[in-house]
């Protein structure tokens, strides 16, 4: 078992076109560091010195990680992490 990370279209240039990749770690920060070892430059697109980038949303099993401790959010095998760009949404 590992943690599945779903990658948005715009970032698939970093994952050889893969829609989802697998990684490991005890926290989101560790998971991203693990991925960065294999997908060079990916982590830098997701985080900066202040933490998660403003227009990047990351969901742990469909829940926004900003409410789960951000980069320190605990993750474990079997979890699904979804990365999405922030959009204005739909029918407003």
């Amino acid at each position: 078992m590992a943690i599945e990370v779903r990658i948005p279209t715009i970032l698939r240039t970093y994952t050889d076109g893969q829609k989802s990749v697998e990684g490991s770690g005890a926290t989101l920060a560790e998971l991203f560091a693990d991925l960065d070892g294999r997908y060079d430059g990916l982590s830098e697109r997701l985080i900066d010195e202040a933490g998660l980038r403003r227009f990047v949303n990351v969901y742990l099993n469909d829940e926004d990680v900003r409410f789960l401790g951000g980069l320190s959010a605990p993750v474990s095998d079997g979890d699904t992490v979804t990365v999405l760009p922030a959009v204005a949404g739909g029918a407003r």
């Binding site: 990047v56 926004d64 204005a88």
Partner: protein, 315 residues
């Protein structure tokens, strides 16, 4: 109940129990039926408040043209109030929105400018901002950043909920402009400090997120993360399934965004039930299902409905 005019009948919507979907008598789900507003959606509250505020501060005067990026309900609400008050309305909306919305906007006399489907509402917002810059005499109420949007909910939705459900533990609503959650959330937090304010956000197909650079993303100016306690991303398939569940279990024909809200609400309910905690969870039902019939959301298999919805803005 008697009102002087349609505009006067804004708000005061019913809060209706969902006995079949609630896990136990101690964990109850409640639906606030915002389709019972003048044009059939929660957006009437924001639209009427934004117009009233612009009239009060002199930005809107008779004969004015209103411009707004909207793919649906806000446009319909604005179109109705604009026609009554003698304003012209131009809506910038993504081309991948349902046919019914275009028909409705046209019926109220609004002009529609289409923005490309790829990029969703981000693109509509960008186009509207450009058009506003080129036409300085047009008035853009700009629902994503207009304080009157959130204030409408602080002054109406919030107090209505608390009056009907003083024991409220959770409030769940869709996250778009964020106005509903910000206004209602602030009010409820002031009155009930432990209340949970939960956002349910639609997760669309890949087309909607576009190929844009991540630095060009969009977060509404109204959004204040500190008002929320959690935020769920709900996939189209889950939203559709829950929309049908609401229809079949409770008889409510709601829009697809309400399926999204129900999905988050049911997770909160299950959590409270497992923990043996009491919960009274209010779900905001933003509109009815009528405007979405052409999407096929309510008929055929779920897989078919999901395929038809791919690439559409359903909430």
């Amino acid at each position: 109940m008697r009102y002087d005019s349609l505009l006067d009948s804004l708000g005061g919507t019913p809060l209706v129990g969902l006995p079949r979907l609630s896990p136990s008598p101690a964990v109850r789900l409640w639906a606030k039926l915002e389709d019972r507003n003048p044009t059939g959606s929660v957006k009437d509250r924001a639209a009427f408040y934004m117009v009233a505020a612009a009239e009060k501060d002199g930005r809107l005067s008779p004969g004015a043209t209103i411009l707004e990026p909207t793919s649906g309900n806000t446009g319909i609400s604005l179109a109705m109030v604009a026609s009554l008050r003698g304003y012209k309305l131009i809506c910038v909306m993504p081309e991948n929105t349902s046919e019914e919305r275009r028909e409705l906007l046209g019926a109220y006399g609004a002009t529609i400018v289409s923005s490309p489907a790829a990029g969703g509402s981000n693109e509509a917002v960008r186009m509207a901002k450009e058009m506003a810059a080129r036409n300085p005499d047009w008035v853009m109420l700009y629902q994503y950043g207009n304080e009157a949007n959130a204030r409408a909910h602080y002054e109406t939705t919030g107090p209505e909920l608390l009056a009907d459900l003083p024991e409220i533990t959770h409030f769940v609503a869709g996250l778009g402009t964020t106005g509903t959650l910000m206004g209602t959330g602030r009010y409820l937090r002031e009155q009930r400090p432990g209340v949970q304010i939960v956002a349910a956000e639609p997760r669309y197909g890949e087309l909607v997120y576009g190929l844009r650079n991540l630095s060009e993303g969009f977060v509404p100016e109204l959004y204040d993360e500190s008002v929320l306690t959690s935020r769920f991303s709900v996939a189209s398939a889950d939203a559709l399934r829950r929309t049908r569940e609401l229809l079949h279990a409770e008889g409510m024909l709601a829009g697809i965004s309400s399926g999204c809200v129900l999905h988050a609400g049911l997770q909160l309910a299950a959590k409270a039930h497992e923990a043996g905690e009491r919960a009274d969870i209010a779900l905001l039902i933003a509109d009815g299902g009528w405007k979405y019939l052409s999407t096929g959301a309510y008929s055929g298999t779920l897989a078919e409905a999901e395929a038809r919805l791919e690439g559409q803005l359903w909430a």
